[in-house]
Symmetry: none
Amino acid sequence: MSDTRRGRARSEAVRRAILEATRDELAANGYDKLSIDRIAAAAGAGKQTVYRWYPSKSALVAECVLDGYGFPATGPVPNTGAIRRDLRDWLGAFADHLAQPQSAALIRASTAAAAESDDVALRFYDHVTAASEDALTARLRDAAPAARPASATAAAEALVGAMLYRLLVRQPATPQFLDSLVDTVLSGIQGTGGTDSTGTQAPQSHT
Amino acid sequence: MSDTRRGRARSEAVRRAILEATRDELAANGYDKLSIDRIAAAAGAGKQTVYRWYPSKSALVAECVLDGYGFPATGPVPNTGAIRRDLRDWLGAFADHLAQPQSAALIRASTAAAAESDDVALRFYDHVTAASEDALTARLRDAAPAARPASATAAAEALVGAMLYRLLVRQPATPQFLDSLVDTVLSGIQGTGGTDSTGTQAPQSHT
Amino acid sequence: MSDTRRGRARSEAVRRAILEATRDELAANGYDKLSIDRIAAAAGAGKQTVYRWYPSKSALVAECVLDGYGFPATGPVPNTGAIRRDLRDWLGAFADHLAQPQSAALIRASTAAAAESDDVALRFYDHVTAASEDALTARLRDAAPAARPASATAAAEALVGAMLYRLLVRQPATPQFLDSLVDTVLSGIQGTGGTDSTGTQAPQSHT
Amino acid sequence: MSDTRRGRARSEAVRRAILEATRDELAANGYDKLSIDRIAAAAGAGKQTVYRWYPSKSALVAECVLDGYGFPATGPVPNTGAIRRDLRDWLGAFADHLAQPQSAALIRASTAAAAESDDVALRFYDHVTAASEDALTARLRDAAPAARPASATAAAEALVGAMLYRLLVRQPATPQFLDSLVDTVLSGIQGTGGTDSTGTQAPQSHT
DNA sequence: AGGTAATCGAGACGGTACGTCCAGTCTTTGT
DNA sequence: ACAAAGACTGGACGTACCGTCTCGATTACCT
């Protein structure tokens, strides 16, 4: 009873070459114009080899961007004691990464891939939300132990959503924008404060 | 010196038929598998006529979703006096729209189109951010005249970004999520409060 | 009771412009790539006007080449008393005309048109065979009153057929070829002479 | 240094299917209305495969008619000792072939193809003239060893030219016409005889 | 050492869609 | 009524890719 496979072993080197070629093609031409033929040619591989590793264009892109090149590692939020500055720095690092044209192209490509494929969408969600929510939750737990977990999710997705939205619509995430974003998420809309004299304090259910 | 156009007039009826066929195709197959051939056939039009109106797949989709069918009109935020409830209702109406599978497909398609094309991305931004920011700004002005304009933009994009992100990654915008989102945007992350004893109050410049 | 047509009269000038544009297009691109759009544009005419005069591409080409430009008038065979030289000169003049690249292109185009359309084929036959047979018959009647009419037809079509065949297959009608052709038609294949010691003199019926 | 071809071998079966589909299409619709789309569909092949084998409509038709179906093999002229009857039989067999509507359509198509393309024209010439000239020369050598080679070419092209001309202009090659043609080529125009009392015996140079 | 089997580059295969061009018709305005 | 202009449906063009299949040539394991 043996699980060692017979025949020639699959080459990791070829797989890497395919991912690199994919990354280059994505940065140059975007998701829509991605061509398996071109990728295979650029990687010096046969088309069949590409399909052996990745069954579809979207799977290839997901692998490339999420587990290979392109998406930032989303490290932990730093903890200097000053939460506003820490959050701002963390978000700024993310913005700096998105400001590189090549990274922007890769992430836009992965959003297009996620729009097409449910599988990729879920991988995208798992990779992005989980990481950023964890980072945020960990930092907030230090600053405010009473924070409810749902708030961290909402805040994480508001931050990530706003950043990706800006990327999608080609608006730069300026320092001013990042400041306003951090302020909003930490303190609520300026001027409304944390209280609502006319509304109900408890969240209302809808739908 | 004449501005009268010679030749047969361009048919608005055909244009509408093209947009309707596009809408149906998008809902059925998604952006990637959209075929101009099929759209033209379904609209009873020649391919050339489609290209006469819209130079590319992305332009067609943008017109279809933004100025035709699919994207909610993003009306004004209601003003019952209770801002939290008003905002929650406004967002809930948006979420209800996105919960319809057909609408979800159309909007995912338009995000894919925006990812492909700078032009479409800007039209998307103009249509979505401007409308939601205006609605939000108008409502906040009533509630808190002192709010800075930048906050409205950040808040609007945080809300819209979070909603679109959820749509993209196939996560339903549950009532609980909407509640948390409204709370965060109105009051900041629960537990951190409106003050930050350790951070600087004034926003820091970054990058 | 009036036979004057109401409205604007059809313009002969436009018709001529159309034929000239057709001639130029044929010489430049050949029959296959002929485009009514281009012809109309070059003639400064609307497409409808072209179709009003000529219902099809082949009719237009027939009119252009046969009754307009391109095909030689096929005048009478000269009569200097020396029939061989007269026939040779007549054929030489035809060959000279076909040697011009533009004329060659026009006639090749008309053969392509004849291959496509029965109508054009018959017009072609009427124009070409009748004229050359008449010319040949008239000359032969002077030289040999006993000649049977069928011979003139066969000889005319052998000559015309050989010339068009050479044109079709891009072989120049060299002086040597013309000499051999005239010899063959006037005297039979060299060396076989006018008698056939082993065959029957009277033509045999076949089929 | 290797001449082994890599990749999947090209399928002769597909090539044959393409030629058969072409033959059927040509017989049914003629050269002008020939559609590569339809041919590929009828052959159960992709368009690209058709283009891989034949770069253009005219090349495809040439291959189909000349080296495939349609053009008679132009066998040797029979030798029963009676040259007139032999030649008449040979030509009659050719005429019989052209009398079939389907064959007529194929050959008309190949003349249209030759009119379009220099390449096809030369292939046509090589296939037709060479074969008929060889057949004729071989037979004449037996009957009249003194015949000059140039005569055989002229005679062959006069015969072939006349036959193709009749085909082009939709005139049947009647037995009477064939008789006259054979007489003309063997003995010269009836009534002029083999001598020319008023002309020069030696061919004149022209042009 | 010699089979056996999976993988490799290469590229032909049946298809689908592309974006362009043209045929032939129809509509609009101008003459 | 005719003419130019030009939009319309329809359909073929030749190209580019898709995903599959078939080659000969490599590797690797397994007798």
